[in-house]
């Protein structure tokens, strides 16, 4: 799996291989998985997936900004953003990865 990123198509393929879901069911289920998480976040509801991590929502106040090209001052609007906090289990699994940067 070192080559290429994990995508929805690959997840569906693996559900077909591992659980025997048919390809259409597998594709639909992967789609629903991400859509239900988006719906929850869209309704300002935190998502807690134990063993993986939490998706939290943070409200940011309006703050002064600047167009970096022109230097013109433009306020950055108040906005709501999603943050991900990996769970202990995922952090522990990933920490051990000895990648090429070491």
């Amino acid at each position: 799996m070192a080559e290429g990123a994990l995508t929805k198509a690959e997840m569906a393929e693996r559900l077909f291989d591992d659980l025997g879901l048919n390809k259409r069911e597998a594709k639909e289920l992967v789609e629903q998985f991400f859509e239900e998480i988006r719906l929850s976040l869209e309704h300002n509801e935190q998502v807690k997936l134990s063993g993986y991590g939490n998706f939290d929502l943070r409200d940011k106040k309006q703050r002064p900004g600047r167009n970096p090209k022109t230097g013109e001052e433009i306020p950055i609007q108040a906005r709501r953003v999603v943050t991900f906090r990996p769970g202990q289990k995922l952090k522990a699994r990933v920490e051990k990865y000895a990648g090429s940067k070491e």
Binding site: M1, K8, F34, Q46, L49, G51, K89, V94, G99
Partner: protein
């Protein structure tokens, strides 16, 4: 929303798969995602976001109780970057809410 609520919500909209199948599938998806990151891979879900690893350099930490310096090795931590659709939908929910207007 917890993992079991996620499973229930998906199962409630399913016409084909049993709750048990949905449960197995949700757990399998999370395991594929963990495995991918664990082996140094990325996860890219259009409209949702991407997960990757960020490197943390080795540093000298301190035992907060005793103040003794401790060498901490470099490590990788999971990182999530929300995609445009997720960012937009979450941000829109803010403008839909009734504003608390200060008089």
């Amino acid at each position: 929303m917890t993992k079991s609520e996620l499973i229930d919500r998906i199962a409630g909209k399913q016409t084909q798969l049993s709750s048990k199948d949905v449960e197995l599938a949700v757990k399998a998806i999370l395991e594929y995602m963990s495995q991918s990151l664990e082996s140094g891979g990325r996860i890219e879900i259009r409209g949702f976001g991407s997960f990757s690893l960020h490197y943390r350099v080795p540093r000298i930490g301190r035992n907060p109780k005793t103040g003794t310096p401790v060498a901490l090795a470099g490590k990788y931590v999971p990182h999530f970057k929300p995609g445009k659709e997720l960012r937009d939908r979450v941000n829109q929910s803010l403008s839909m809410e009734p504003q608390m207007t200060a008089s």
